[in-house]
Amino acid sequence: MNVLKMTDIKKSFGSNEVLKGVSLTVDEGEVVSIIGSSGGGKSTLLRCATLLETIDDGTITYMGDDVTYKNEKGKLCYSKDLKKFKKVFGLVFQNFNLFPHFSVLKNVCDAPVSVLGRDKKEVREECLELLDKMGLGDKAKAYPCELSGGQQQRVSIVRALAMKPDILFFDEPTSALDPELTGEVLKVIKSLAEEKMTMVIVTHEMAFARAVSDRVIFIDNGVIVEEGTPQEVFGNTKNERTRQFLQNYNN
């Protein structure tokens, strides 16, 4: 079953057309990496998928339900019940965006309790277990400012997981981290892939994308230029622009 289906997404900021008709389908348990140079539209696509930006044209469907529809005048509208869709996905930001005034435990527990209305004690136990699994068991009482960047990013992954999303988006999750800390975050994402978590990852870590993804998408200038298995995209690159882009990483 398709967890996410985006078709022919168009998005402009003023006169700058950032997405020129991009389609993306993600199946359950699939890990999709999106690569491409900065300004190519990767992050915007993710922000449209997570409803942080509104699309100009196209359709978005989660678990078979339409997020967008055309009204009788043909104008694109968003579903009135966006809350329902927000339960389906989670997003891990490049710069974490943890809540600085909440402890680590509160950062991860608060939304399941006050948004989903779940039992406080049950959520707490679950979150402590998740933190433990991510190697953050001793940091539950700490505040984000007391953690390293890598630890903060792992907390933000736990925060997203605590909502039990059907699909998890990562927007350049390691771009704000030094190489040493990058490794620990990638390890966590890899372990989620092994557990068959459905994920869409925008990343500049090519070796990681190659190792972890079922499918790799290269976006350039607002369109999908190349798409395929990691072997196809990295090993047997068809498109000249993709080859050019990947060459910069091989050097």
């Binding site: 997570t50 942080l52 965006n97 809540f99 006050s114 948004v115």
Partner: protein, 216 residues
């Protein structure tokens, strides 16, 4: 008149001084949030109108506003002038201070990064939850020093109530000074205000310390 009687008489006005102070804070602090939210409204008419009102409140003397609130209804509608002067005093002070607080709040709210709103939106927090749970606590932490500044000013501004002869400490002091032809009451008033503000400084310092459990 001995210094002791002077201090005693002026102390009787301290209760009224405190009434102005605490009632003004009680009303102005939340009213400032309302002003700030109206000022940041997406509706341009509401936003511009609030901006204008706030600019008038900040751009004209508090004493003038106090006189307008106290005597304005009489001149405009022929209404009787309120006997209990505390009511117009608190109304004028609250509105004036709410205007100042609203600008402090607005600065604080706008200093919170977009990422905080986005993280809350992704997690499904409602707008109200986002504001109350995520944004406001961080704003309070950031604006506390500026708010302290305003509160210190408010302590001293309570003396402006003498303009409508409300019997607060300074008004009584001024009356004694006139009748006794002495400067002493003003010195006593100065000491009173200084002690009052030392207490304010202590309490707000404690509050700031309590909130600094995390780095911004």
């Amino acid at each position: 008149m001995t210094l002791t009687t002077m201090i005693q008489k002026m102390s009787e006005g301290l209760g009224n001084t405190c009434s102005i102070f605490f009632l003004t804070l009680l009303i102005a602090l939340p009213l400032g949030v309302v002003f700030a939210l109206l000022r940041m409204s997406k509706n341009i008419v509401i936003s511009k109108l609030t901006q204008f009102i706030v600019s008038v409140l900040r751009g004209t003397p508090l004493m003038l506003q106090l006189l307008a609130v106290t005597y304005g209804p009489f001149y405009l509608f022929g209404w009787g002038i309120s006997r209990n002067k505390l009511i117009p005093v608190v109304i004028a002070f609250s509105i004036n201070y709410a205007a100042y607080f609203s600008e402090i709040y607005r600065g604080g709210i706008e200093s919170i990064s977009v990422g905080q709103y986005e993280a809350a939106a992704i997690l499904g927090y409602s707008k109200a939850q986002t504001f109350v749970k995520i944004i406001l606590p961080q704003v309070i932490r950031r604006i506390l020093p500026s708010v302290t500044n305003e509160i210190v000013t408010l302590v001293k501004d309570t003396s402006i109530a003498f303009a409508v002869s409300y019997q607060e400490m300074f008004t009584i002091g001024k009356q004694i000074a006139n009748s006794q032809a002495s400067f002493m009451p003003f010195i006593v008033a100065g000491v009173f205000y200084y002690i009052f503000n030392a207490a304010v400084g202590f309490v707000m310092g404690r509050a700031e310390k309590a909130m600094s459990y995390y780095k911004q």
